[in-house]
Subunit: 371 residues, 2 copies
């Protein structure tokens, strides 16, 4: 447990690369995608419960997902849930959480952690990195934890380390977008680049001050809502102000401009992390952890109602069965076969990133109910 540390989980929507399971109406964080009988959201709360008391955890989610989220997290009380009228991207969510925390508890250090990432941390490295980031936050920085890359991935943004502040904490020189493969290799070889895991740790006052400077209108709207939150006026103000909140990611609203002012710090995190971005990433994640335990190879990854999945002469497939429907694979390798109940996807793992291209196709065909 880290003393006086508050955890915020923005559980927005998204995840079109995990279609047909992940939908507008049921985003990926609600699903068990690691075969451990806990949804990504539940695993996130489990992980944060090690560093924050339950009453110090906030979950921000869309009103359409609120019921599912509350049902999945019986350990949290109703004060822990912040509902969004409509999606307004990460800055509004994190800003509102910071403001509510500050009004409830005064100026405290909080961290924001995605609801749909997987972290494998056997040696307490995650907690230790958060503690270092807390120190940097207490020194006035907005801190992040950057993941030491184990491959030149082109699926993530990178963070370039600047000068060392104290042992294991660096100034951020700059944030860089998802690179080309060539560039990614250079980054990894340099040893100075980390994956951006979208973690932000700061004092509430520092976050809100940065927001006030960078996005004054958004700050005003958020403060109006936050001031009304724990009062009978919550609903009225929420409904009156929400539509006007700017839709912008914290990366663009705060991280990039503040890093240019030399006010952002990064702690390199030495643990396994993945954003569970697509079906291939999930399969690789599970195969890796299974191999560590059982030395199996060429195995298939089965999720959902696994007992209804049967594979014959088939290897390295990922199969998700959300119903009690028999799924049989015969003599096929490296496929993703995903049955969400009302839709089935069959594709190759190696092109799993392209699953997001199905969404515009469905829009063109007036199949919005499947999006």
């Amino acid at each position: 447990m880290i003393e006086n540390f508050y955890s915020v989980i923005p559980a927005g929507g998204g995840g079109t690369r995990l279609w047909p399971l992940s939908r507008k109406s049921s985003p990926k964080f609600l699903y068990d995608l690691t075969g451990e009988s806990r949804s990504l959201l539940q695993s996130t709360v489990d992980r944060l419960s090690v560093i924050s008391k339950h009453e110090n955890i906030l979950v921000i989610t869309g009103q359409s997902h609120l019921d599912s989220v509350i049902r999945q997290l019986p350990e949290l009380n109703s004060d822990s849930f912040i509902d969004e009228v409509e999606p307004r991207d990460s800055m509004a969510a994190i800003g509102l959480a910071a403001a509510i925390l500050q009004l409830r508890h005064g100026d405290v250090v909080f961290g924001s952690f995605a609801a749909d990432h997987v972290i494998e941390d056997k040696d307490g490295e995650f907690e230790s990195a958060v503690k270092k980031a807390q120190d940097a936050a207490n020194d006035g920085y907005i801190a992040t934890i950057g993941i030491k890359p184990n491959s030149p991935s082109t699926a993530f943004g990178y963070i370039e380390e600047g000068k060392q502040l104290v042992g294991g904490t660096y100034l951020i020189k700059k944030f860089v977008e998802k690179p080309t493969e060539q560039l990614a290799k250079k980054y990894v070889e340099s040893g100075r680049f980390l994956w951006n895991a979208g973690i932000f740790i700061s004092k509430t006052s520092v976050m809100l001050e940065a927001l006030k400077i960078q996005k004054p209108k958004l700050y005003d709207g958020i403060m109006k809502i936050a001031n009304a939150w724990d009062t009978p006026r919550r609903l009225t103000v929420q409904n009156a102000e929400w539509a006007a909140l700017e839709k912008v990611a914290i990366d663009y609203a705060i991280a990039e401009p503040v890093s240019k002012k030399g006010m952002m710090a990064v702690v390199p995190g030495n643990f396994e992390w993945t954003d569970v971005g697509d079906w291939d990433a999930i399969a690789t994640l599970i195969q890796k952890s299974d191999t560590a335990n059982s030395c199996a190879s060429g195995q298939n990854v089965t999720l959902g109602n696994s007992e209804f999945i049967h594979t014959i002469n088939s290897h390295d497939n990922i199969i998700f069965d959300s119903q009690e429907k028999l799924i049989v694979l015969l003599g096929v390798d490296d496929l993703a076969v995903i049955d969400s109940g009302d839709a089935i996807l069959v594709t190759k793992r190696q092109i799993a990133q392209k699953v997001k291209d199905i969404i515009p196709h469905l829009e063109d065909e007036d199949l919005d109910k499947f999006i």
Copy 2:
């Protein structure tokens, strides 16, 4: 129309290579597998309606399929349906039909045609072959129609032609089992071998006499049931005699021994024929007919609720959607993706013959309800 010609359709079970669609409870002849909005059984009746009046057509099927069969064939009256208490293979079915026809109409010529084969006959070649076989039947032969092979298939049995009887009709020298590929090539090159399409055409008296000689006990059982058929005793006798009927194919019970006596004739049939044996055969059949019309290539074959099937960068797949469930294929080729409602199969077209191996797997796993 061929005068005084009776048609018999044994519609038994089977078709394990078309799992998961074809089941014990709903065999393949009940499905539209050619995309023409007629089941294989309906197409068979359509084809035979050209050569036999509706009242001269008999369909023999299991009691468990009788309702479905009657519903699919409203053009036939109740006398046309012969129900089997339990499957007893083709000899019992064809023998009983022959006996019932003889008792109802005297000694007539009839032909037996499988319920689940597809014949494409644009030039009346099928009718013309049946007429020639009828002539041979009137001369006392048990005749068959052998298909001129267009490839050295190892999926069918072959018939070797003997000496010519009259123009276009030959004695059968012998029946041969499914050959190796090498042997199949020799057969096709010789020009004297035909595919065995399981068609038998003879006088009822000749068929029953052959049965009496080859399988006297089976003959006795069948005659008892046939004599009771159009009487109030039908049900009692049927139930009393059925279990003891020998389970044997007409090929072994009659065709092979009778051909050795020089009493079987074959008419080479010059039309497109397929036994719709597996998913690849169905895809090839439909692709061939579509290409003839539209010159399309690399297209996917979609069956069932085709409007719910979407393919993106995917080619030469066969997809069956039996529900209103979205099926999306992204970047995959040459697959069979079959959704029967309670089960989904994903396999490669080139190993479609191996789908039958799934059945023993399901038996081992106590999943009999999916067989």
